[in-house]
Amino acid sequence: MDAQLIARWQFGITTVYHFLFVPITIGLSMLVAVLQTIWYKTGNEAFLRLTKFYGKLFLINFAIGVVTGIVQEFQFGMNWSEYSRFVGDVFGAPLALEALLAFFLESTFIGLWIFGWDRLPKKLHLMTIYMAAIGTMLSAIFILAANSWMQNPVGSTFRNGRAELTDFGALFTNPVFIATFPHVITSAYMAAGGLVAGIAAWHLAKLNRFGDADNSDRDVSTWRWAAKFGAYVLLVSAVLVAVSGDAQAKAMTHAQPMKMAAAEALWDTKEGAGFSIITIGSLDGQSEVFSIRVPKLLSFMGTGDFNGTVQGINDLKAQFEEKGFLRDDGSQTELQATYADELAQYSVKVTPNIAVTYWTFRLMIGVGMLGALASLWLLWTLRKGRNPRPSKLWTYAMLSMPFLPVAGISFGWIMAEMGRQPWLVAGVMPTFTGASPSVSTFEVLTSVILYTLLYGLLAVIEFGLIIKYTKKGLPDVAPVKVLEDEDAPLSFAY
């Protein structure tokens, strides 16, 4: 195995792992802020209990998100030095701004929120969780702008032997970014809503063991509220995920026609192309053997017109050989155009792994929709004051509500990034030119093995803690007030 391949695996493993925790962090910080706001406005203790309960889960999750995020920022330079050297002028700025504008905000205000219950007046304390939640969103803005630039390298040109920035604003008006940001944020709310709902509904069934749960009981009524709240968040977000996903498909078809062709296993360019339910390709991966397709749906997804033309893999390959990398309307970004002559010196095989791109696309949609279905089932079960009874099926379904969206998000990212291959920067920098020449196979093998072991250990710890605190249920809460007595025990300490 060569160092570059292992470096790719390491990036994949560490990034997918990191992003298991990110959606919960983004979504749950805001949902906890909403819960605390309701408590602040109404003074109803139930919402303080929910705030503390989900707040604790949020923090357990947040800790891993933070430490695995540090690895991400360093990994570009460590494993992808030639990529960093080539793109740093454009790509480095959003990363630096993410640290300066988002990470400081998140980490400082999370600290104030955790320890500030008895130090800050209620209103100010409420503000701290909003600041942290805003921090997570700012973070998403910058990192997605950076990633979207890799998919569609706007606002830059080839100069002085590297990509140089020509228009910073273009990174944020990039059509890929504009479609990706809402897609990622709303999918994070699906995961967080699913977590809130799934846990609440699981507890509800437990309290209703004998079918006699009393809806006026304080635990029952609180869990009922949380279950419905989470389910609605999940459902509404699922609709928004679908809408933004549609926009993203169009942006992707435009910027990376090959990715869409691979995601659909569409070998030959077609007008009125159908959406593949299942496609089996030939062994050499060059043609279709069998498929079931929904007529014309793909054309609509990709172009907004049922009879629109979607380019096929084989035609795109031929086009690349002949004219270089083009977007679906035949255009190039300035960077792609100015770099074309340099690019000609490399021999690039322009098809991504079709099976991976194709299946992760379907898994993303399928798994995400299943999560939304579980929330519908929940709402149906809780209708008109009814409560669920515990069962294996109910437990699995409620467990699936956070896990399915998170799995869907992972599949989505694998599709987006594997579908970007063979490019680091679409149409500009082939992946094999980006790795660090000075990092040996031994070094990267050592790090990938140790990261995997360490991340595995953290997963076991984190999962154990989440289960423990989930089972523990709603905490009893003391009245919240600012402590004046210097010797009194703090309301929270590690």
Partner: protein
């Protein structure tokens, strides 16, 4: 001596200084975090005392660590060539830093989640190792930046992993560990009352004496073996001597004030010592960024490593606006948590006892 064809632009100098400021901020703030965590078992004789120690940095350590991320991100944005060569060339050392930061980063939060002794012990070690490793490795690293890392004509670091561990490199590692332990001990005495306050102060005096000696040897070794006067970019010979000796003096002053039970001044002095050390190091690194380029036709330096004027200008605006804001709310956070803590402020682990029931209560109290 080399003569330079061109001078760096104003923006390049500004960004070099800003990166120096970010590293300095990181070592000033996370320096005491590292020290505090390394002392968990040394100063904390039972679980309550250990919790007290951890809670002195509980609300603020995470924000302190972001200074490192920002230094890394700023280097990527402002000097991609520096970031690419350094981070890939020092792959294994940086990997060790990351492993440390991962272990440490989860330790404080997760430690508190279970009262069992074995569990807490494991996370104590996560915190200790996770603070020792980055402090040591970064010390070895910065000592090597002072010496200069060899860079070939492919602008990649051409010296081996083991060559980093020269006597001077190891001295740098030891110095950073001792310096942060001192800084941390003073910080604990500043943030606690009662017995812990006295114990950490007494420890700071001893650690301060050791650090002062290490700093003195380091500064002499550095200035005699790799004088900044030979830096073709900037004759900083006088500055590295003065700041180096000031770093030694500040540590001596800190030790003296710690002895007098004036830990507030002692903390400012250990902090100043870190600042002087960083000014010293970044003066020596000016221009060549701590690299020795072997190919004069393709050197790696402040000019060749830098981003375009446009990127630097945008980043400068962002820094001018947001660095003061960050400093504002981080200072506010320290103000909010300004009170000294004592063991009596540590709440009972009531929630654990409530959960696990009476049979495990004995463990929780142990």
């Amino acid at each position: 001596m080399l003569t330079l064809a061109t001078d760096p632009t104003g923006l390049q100098i500004v960004w070099y200084l800003l990166i120096a400021v970010l590293w300095t901020g990181f070592f000033f703030l996370e320096g005491f975090d590292f020290g505090v965590a390394m002392l968990i078992k040394v100063l904390g004789r039972n679980d309550r005392e250990r919790r007290l120690i951890i809670n002195t940095i509980g609300p603020t350590w995470d924000g302190n660590e972001v200074w490192l991320l920002t230094a890394g991100g700023a280097t990527f944005a402002a000097f991609p060539g520096w970031y690419a060569t350094l981070f890939s060339g020092l792959y294994l050392p940086l990997f060790l830093v990351l492993v440390g930061l991962i272990l440490r980063g989860v330790s404080f939060e997760y430690r508190s989640k279970n009262p069992e002794t074995a569990w807490r012990n494991m996370f104590d070690w996560f915190a200790i190792i996770g603070s020792f490793l980055p402090a040591l490795v970064l010390g070895v690293g910065f000592a090597n930046f002072l010496k200069g890392l060899k860079v070939g004509s492919d602008v990649l670091i051409s010296q081996s992993f083991w060559s980093l561990f020269s006597p001077f490199g190891l001295l740098g590692g030891l110095l950073f560990v001792a310096l942060f332990v001192t800084h941390g001990a003073v910080f604990i005495s500043l943030k606690t009352k009662g017995e812990m306050h006295q114990r950490s102060r007494a420890f700071a005096v001893k650690a301060g004496a050791v650090s002062t000696v290490l700093m003195l040897v380091f500064v002499l070794y550095q200035n005699l073996a790799w004088p900044a006067s030979e830096n073709p970019w900037f004759n900083g010979g006088a500055i590295t001597w003065i700041t180096g000796l000031l770093a030694v003096a500040a540590l001596a002053v800190a030790t003296w004030f710690a002895r007098q039970d004036r830990e507030g001044i002692a903390f400012l002095a250990t902090g100043l010592s870190i600042i002087f050390l960083m000014v010293n190091i970044f003066t020596k690194m000016y221009g060549n960024l701590g690299f020795i380029s072997t190919d004069p036709n393709n050197p790696l330096d402040i000019i060749t490593a830098s981003s375009s004027p446009m990127t630097l200008k945008i980043m400068t605006w962002a820094a001018v606006i947001f660095v003061p804001i960050v400093l504002g709310y981080q200072s506010w956070s320290y103000w909010v948590f300004r009170r000294r803590l004592g063991v009596r402020n540590m709440p009972q682990d009531l929630e654990h006892e409530a959960l696990t029931g009476p049979q495990t209560k004995a463990v929780a109290g142990a």
